[in-house]
């Protein structure tokens, strides 16, 4: 089980955000994507999960191009982006259930309640999402991490944003547990030391771009 990129490039307009990116992530490994705003972190994450097509290169999952795998790859993937994917009219529990069914995961009441309990929202599960705070909305989105079966590859865009200290600690604990079970985590954050350092790869997009401008 590996996630691999081959000479991956991303172009926005006339500007190359990054290019020639070779990565390899195996079971139990995490990748922390760093870089200033606008350096292409979100773009890279969207390329990795197949939402965007690369300008050059390819992303491989278990040795096969994800654009050919499509649904087979999606079943192994959980992507939580900037947009929460929550419907304001529906309650937190209903939103979570919809998300679960979309991903082909367990969406019965008990599993949903347990997942909301994990993120500390057990008592707010019947509130419409419109009445939740930013942090609570983020927690509902992250509750999908606790719905079994958890996909092996997690791609998280700024998962620690808007979370308080406790929730952030809980999230790092959950991600560490996922890694210990042989999962793969790709994430961006501006928070230092969010995950324990063992088997953590760090990718700095700014440094990568600078290297490419001055090839030695």
């Amino acid at each position: 089980m590996t996630l691999q990129t081959l000479r991956l490039a991303c172009v926005r307009g006339a500007r190359e955000l990054f290019g020639g990116l070779d990565l390899e992530l195996g079971a139990g490994e995490a990748l922390w994507v760093q870089g200033p705003n606008g350096s292409g972190k979100t773009s890279l994450l969207r390329l990795l999960c197949g939402l965007a097509a690369p300008a050059a290169g390819a992303v491989h999952w278990c040795g096969r191009d994800i654009r050919h795998l499509r649904e087979d790859f999606h079943r192994e993937l959980l992507y939580i982006g900037h947009a929460s994917g929550l419907k304001d009219e529906l309650s937190a529990a209903e939103n979570l259930r919809l998300g679960a069914q979309l991903g082909g995961r367990q969406g019965d009441d008990a599993a949903v309640q347990r997942a909301l309990g994990h993120v500390g929202l057990a008592r707010a599960s019947r509130l419409p999402a419109a009445r939740l705070s930013q942090g609570q909305r983020k927690r509902v989105a992250l509750a999908r991490l606790h719905l079994p079966p958890v996909p092996r590859l997690l791609i998280l865009d700024e998962p620690f944003n808007a979370l308080d200290r406790d929730a952030a600690d809980q999230l790092s604990a959950a991600l560490s547990a996922h890694l210990a079970l042989g999962g793969i985590v790709v994430y961006t954050t501006h928070q230092a030391d969010a995950l324990p350092a063992q088997r953590l790869q760090v990718l700095d997009l700014q440094a990568l771009a600078a290297r490419r401008q001055r090839p030695c």
Binding site: C49, G50, L51, A52, A53, R70, E71, H74, R75, L77, Y79, G81, H82, A83, S84, G85, L86, K87, E89, L90, L98, G99, Q101, L102, G103, G104, R105
Partner: protein
């Protein structure tokens, strides 16, 4: 796969029910637009009777354009569409589910209202039957073709107007055969040829839309 289809339809119907104003606006627009014509043209029964098929069909076309902009836009804005693209089931299935739900919410009410509105044009019973049949076959085509347009204009400014500009020229055949069936029936001949052609259009668009719509959604998200 069928489970996901049923699930998408249920979900969209549920959301539509919670935002009742959208489907109601479509239905009211249809009623008001068709009612304005007799007021503007005057109470000449012969004239109204001969114009009725065109009036009802054009109004139905315009009414169905109203809600198209929202077919994907809300899911696009809150990120649900991303999750749908990354879902465990093929995207074309989700697209067809959304189209079916859209038709149930905004197409079906038009079909049900049309016979009532036809009465104010003094259409004969046979012609009302043909109107009903042509709308039953025709309005799903509007939803199907509209879905492609709605997906293509996702994320663009002024998307609502653009959808109409994009889709209305494409649905001209639907208008011609739909209104033609009613006219033929009203003038005493047989409208079934028109209805069969409409059926052909429906089969064609139903086969094409899931793939075209899914491709358009993928492009919009890139």
């Amino acid at each position: 796969m069928l489970r996901v289809l049923a699930w998408v339809i249920r979900r969209d119907l549920r959301l539509a029910f919670m935002r009742r104003s959208d489907p109601l606006a479509t239905a009211f627009f249809f009623v008001i637009a068709t009612t304005l014509f007799p007021l503007g043209i005057g109470p000449e029964p012969g004239l109204l009777r001969s114009m009725a098929p065109g009036i009802v069909w054009v109004s139905a076309l315009l009414a169905s354009m109203l809600s198209l902009g929202r077919l994907f836009a809300l899911d696009f804005a809150d990120g649900t569409l991303e999750q749908m693209v990354l879902g465990a089931e093929p995207l074309p299935v989700i697209v067809i589910g959304k189209v079916l739900a859209h038709w149930l919410v905004s197409g079906l009410p038009l079909v049900l209202l049309a016979p009532l509105l036809a009465l104010q044009f003094d259409l004969p019973a046979a012609a009302i039957g043909a109107l009903l049949a042509s709308l039953v076959i025709g309005t799903p085509i509007l939803s199907l073709l509209g879905a492609i347009g709605a997906a293509l204009t996702l994320g663009l400014r002024g998307g609502g107007v653009l959808v109409s500009l994009l889709v209305l020229p494409l649905v001209v055949p639907v208008l011609i055969f739909g209104a033609g069936a009613v006219e033929a029936q009203a003038s005493g001949s047989d409208g079934s040829a028109h209805l069969l052609l409409l059926g052909g259009l429906l089969a064609g668009t139903a086969a094409l839309t899931p793939w075209a719509g899914a491709a358009a959604v993928r492009i919009a998200l890139e």
